[in-house]
Symmetry: C2
Subunit: 175 residues, 2 copies
């Protein structure tokens, strides 16, 4: 089974969840202080995500697709973290895939309009966890990973990924 | 005089301009194909910006602050590139500073409501260039760098930067 890193990006709280098969192998939340410099906040979270990727070598990074929201500032923070993460994943030959909130809810609960509580309960059940992961950012990150487990069109095996990386390196040497 | 990297971030065209004193020492535009994978587009531009930073070692990265715009998709691309750039700058101890569009226009032309053409003309004059830099993304990136030259509160000297980097490294070893 593919090892997938699901991320619920955010500047204040960035949830992450690593899922392999039906097991949550690592999960948690990175937090930054709203009073500190924005570039430092993005930089700190980006560094922690990079370390997580280099520790676990996921085959796919899965993110929720952001739509129009009331708060532009929060959308910007989400997109900034996502961009840093996309760059890190790309530099390591790891594909990034986006899923809409309703895709995630449907994949986890069977209902594209499920509530946060229902998503949390199903994440706990699917991944056979002792309790619902908290805060909600963690459950959301795990839900995205579970969704990607079921629906990804990009997850590759380790062997495929090495082939792509080797072919990229060869192209760089040629060009 | 400080060496400043101004960037006009975007997924389709990302303009950059390096200004030292009243001289444009490097400028241009990175482009990606809209048909390719979003993470690959962010990754390619992020890599090129990283190489630019590691070639020139700017003392400051200057960006235009994005406000609500009609097109959320384009705002997202801008924020994703900005986020990757913020992470790169932060990892190298280089401060990132944002300026509003009217601050940039006012710093370059004396008028916060100047047109694109006026900004281009003044960038050419201030930096003693032979012609107005094209496309507009390049002129905009140089304009942000010129604005930062005048108004930055974060630009540091090389010595200060080394001190900050050394103190960060020491803290990492402690903690």
């Amino acid at each position: 089974m593919a090892k997938i890193l699901g991320v619920d990006p955010g500047l204040t709280r960035c949830g992450f969840g690593l899922v392999e098969g039906k097991k949550a192998i690592d999960f948690g939340v990175f937090q930054t202080d709203a009073k500190t410099d924005p570039a430092a906040r993005v930089g700190e979270i980006a560094l922690k995500l990079e370390r997580l990727i280099d520790k676990h070598h996921p085959e796919l990074v899965a993110l929720e697709r952001v739509f129009a929201q009331a708060n532009l500032r929060s959308v910007m923070g989400v997109a900034q973290i996502s961009g840093a993460l996309m760059a890190t994943a790309h530099s390591r030959g790891i594909p990034v895939e986006f899923f809409t909130p309703s895709e995630v809810k449907a994949a986890v609960t069977g209902n594209g309009r499920a509530t946060k509580d229902q998503v949390g309960l199903m994440v706990k059940a699917i991944l056979q966890m002792n309790e619902i992961p908290k805060p909600a950012d963690v459950a959301d990150a795990l839900a995205v990973a579970v969704c990607a487990q079921k629906r990804s069109t990009k997850a590759t095996t380790e062997a495929q990924r090495k082939w792509v990386a080797a072919s990229k390196a060869a192209n760089r040497q040629l060009g």
